[in-house]
């Protein structure tokens, strides 16, 4: 495998270094010890010889360090950068500078620093500097870095900041910095969607088996979600630029939006927003629409979905056989078709999920079901009113972090 390829140049250096050092040693220990002259002259000469020996040692070590080679004997290659990261480093064709501001006491950060150094050895075009902000706070401030374990990646006049300790993420950051044009994703807001700038990592879902509100409601109690900040960060880490799109304030969706995402709107769209989406899709745009129970489709939006072959009702899916725990509405999907989108998706749960009905799309449109519940699943209609929401005290949303350019 390429990532374990032997560095022949470094090995040749090492194999040549050792005999050379041994030869110098052999010559040095055979230097005459007996010296004529007075005591001070002898001491002076001895001191000079010792200094020369020390200098040879330092120079020899420096020479070996310049042509060093890393050997990782662990089974899992724990101390070798990920193959993808190495591939990125080796494939560089333009100078890239990485400055890693790492927390010196953090073992993970130390490892990340070491991995970056190993990546830098793979290609002379990749230069790497490690800075401990605790020791050099002014440098961190100069570069505009305010977090620990942040890698500042610079290519020409482009800068990307990647926070973390995973060399694979740094490699993706390098690729982002190399791209002259970034793929932009536009996340719709203005309908009480999930926030994209939260820092929390989870959303609570409780089963309704312990309590319920009325028959019309799904038994799944949804607490206020913290947001989809994690999704945004993941998308950014793989190279996308995520922007907010206040749909109500624009007459048309910008053409540089590669995908429009709407994650759990709670309030109805305006007709103009539906029209903007329709025009955008007709011009070749793409959309990821995640509509949950309770969201009422504006007639224009309903019409649009109908042309795409999708109908949505206010109902919830239940599966008496395939569900999580004892709640039939915690639907479990046990398998997926080998579609490129779902090929790597595994066993998943969809609590309180709203079903999609496939209809006949407009000519020229193909509809493909990606996620199907089991054969024993059914749907149950719920009231048009929104499901009761148990509000938990949530943390104040953090201000949107500065987006790295």
């Amino acid at each position: 495998m390429e990532e374990h390829a032997i560095n022949w140049q470094a090995l040749a250096w090492a194999l040549g270094w050792l005999p050379a050092v041994l030869a110098l040693f052999w010559w040095g220990i055979r230097l005459p010890l007996a010296q004529t002259g007075g005591a001070w002259r002898r001491r002076g000469r001895s001191a000079l010889i010792l200094l020369a020996g020390a200098a040879v040692f330092v120079l020899a070590l420096s020479a070996l360090t310049r042509h060093d080679s890393h050997v990782d004997l662990t089974r899992e290659k724990l101390y070798t950068p990920a193959p993808t990261a190495l591939a990125v480093a080796r494939g560089l064709r333009v100078p890239v500078s990485v400055t890693y501001f790492y927390q010196g006491q953090d073992p993970n950060a130390q490892r990340a620093r070491d991995m970056l150094m190993l990546m830098a050895r793979e290609n002379a075009l990749l230069s790497m500097t490690a800075i401990d902000p605790d020791k050099q706070p002014s440098l961190a401030a100069t570069h505009g870095v305010k977090m620990y374990n942040a890698a500042l990646i610079e290519v020409a006049d482009r800068r990307v900041i990647v926070q973390g300790t995973d060399e694979a993420e740094f490699a993706i950051g390098i690729q982002r910095a190399l791209r002259e044009r970034q793929v932009q994703l536009c996340v719709v807001e203005g309908h009480n969607e999930y926030a994209i700038d939260n820092e929390e990592f989870h959303t609570h879902m409780d089963s309704g088996s312990s309590h319920s509100h009325d028959d019309a409601a799904s038994k799944v109690i949804e607490t206020t979600g913290h947001g989809i900040g994690r999704l945004r960060r993941t998308l950014e880490s793989v190279g996308y630029d995520v922007q907010r799109l206040p749909l109500a304030t624009v007459t048309e969706i910008p053409s540089d939006c590669a995908v429009v995402i709407d994650a759990n709107p709670r309030t109805t769209w305006l007709p103009g927003e539906s029209l903007a989406l329709k025009n955008y899709l007709e011009q070749g745009g793409a959309a990821l629409l995640m509509f949950d129970l309770g969201f009422s489709l504006e007639p224009g939006l309903r019409e649009l979905l109908s042309t795409l072959g999708v109908r949505m009702t206010q109902s919830v899916v239940a599966d008496r056989l395939s569900h999580y725990g004892t709640d039939e509405e915690m639907v479990a999907v046990t398998g997926y078709d080998p579609h490129p989108i779902t090929r790597h998706v595994a066993y998943s749960f969809y609590p309180g999920v709203r079903p999609l009905e496939l209809a006949t799309p407009t000519a020229g449109v193909t509809t493909t079901a990606l996620i199907r519940s089991g054969n024993t699943s059914t749907t149950r209609a719920v009231a048009a009113a929104r499901r009761p929401v148990t509000t938990r005290r949530s943390r104040a949303h953090l201000p949107a972090p500065a987006r790295a350019r």
């Binding site: 007996a34 010296q35 005591a39």
Partner: protein, 250 residues
């Protein structure tokens, strides 16, 4: 009476040892100044002087253990400083009160020093037998050196020095700590060895020097005061010469 060395004494075949202007400083203290002499095979030279005269320093310069501040010495034609290993092949040295490796047996010591003196592998066994027989060590060959008496230790040290048939033997205070019988035995041994080797011997016992040496050098405060050719028919004369030369001036 100081007399020059005679060149037509029996057994001489040119100098085995040549010392020229040997000078040595221990820091600011000059321990030896300008010592020059020659020694031929078959000649026994006694090195005499009070404590601190520079005898030990002289011997260490001749063995190459110390490097002269000035001057040089050659042994069998090799400079003892520049060609130390080659010169020391022709040297057998018995230090004052030799401390042997206590954990090694006499046999192991003989074999060790035979190898260190670069005796051919095929002759090591015979060489060890030769010197052990000559020094009457066969009965103690299997004994650890640490368990030997002073007298046997001295004999072992001489045996080690004889390995390889060196041209020059240096014996530093060889009679120290020996009983009278051992002193007599050693004297006889030195007289036998004198026929084949050049020997330098130091001792505080002037009568012993008078019995074994052909010539004596008198040192005091690092300087050579004079040389005396020992007359066998004038016993006690050495002592008188020694006192006359080395008595401190008032």
């Amino acid at each position: 009476m100081i007399a020059p060395v005679s060149d037509d004494r029996p057994g001489l075949s040119g100098p085995v040892l040549l010392a020229h202007d040997l000078t040595y400083d221990y820091g600011r203290h000059r321990a030896l100044t300008g010592l020059s002499f020659e020694l031929a095979r078959g000649e026994v030279l006694g090195l005499l002087g009070p404590n601190g005269a520079g005898k030990s320093t002289c011997l260490r310069l001749l063995t190459g253990y110390l490097t002269p501040t000035r001057g040089y010495a050659t042994l069998a034609g090799y400079d003892v400083t520049q060609d130390g290993p080659a010169a020391r092949r022709h040297l057998g040295y018995v230090p004052e009160d030799p401390l042997l490796y206590p954990h090694l047996t006499v046999d192991e010591l003989l074999r060790l020093f035979a190898r260190l003196k670069a005796c051919p592998s095929s002759t090591i066994h015979d060489e060890c037998d030769r010197v052990a027989t000559r020094l009457a060590l066969n009965e103690v060959r299997k004994r650890a050196a640490g368990k030997l008496s002073r007298g046997f230790r001295q004999r072992v040290a001489i045996a080690l020095a004889l390995l390889g048939a060196p041209d020059l033997l240096i014996l530093d205070e060889p009679t120290n700590g020996l009983d009278p019988w051992q002193v007599i035995e050693l004297r006889e041994l030195v007289q036998q060895l004198a026929a084949e080797h050049a020997i330098i011997v130091t001792s505080h016992v002037l009568s012993e020097i008078e019995r074994v040496a052909h010539r004596a050098l008198f040192l005091r405060e690092g300087r050579l005061l004079g040389s005396y050719v020992i007359a066998r028919d004038q016993p006690g004369e050495l002592e008188r010469q020694f006192l006359a030369m080395t008595r401190p001036r008032v």
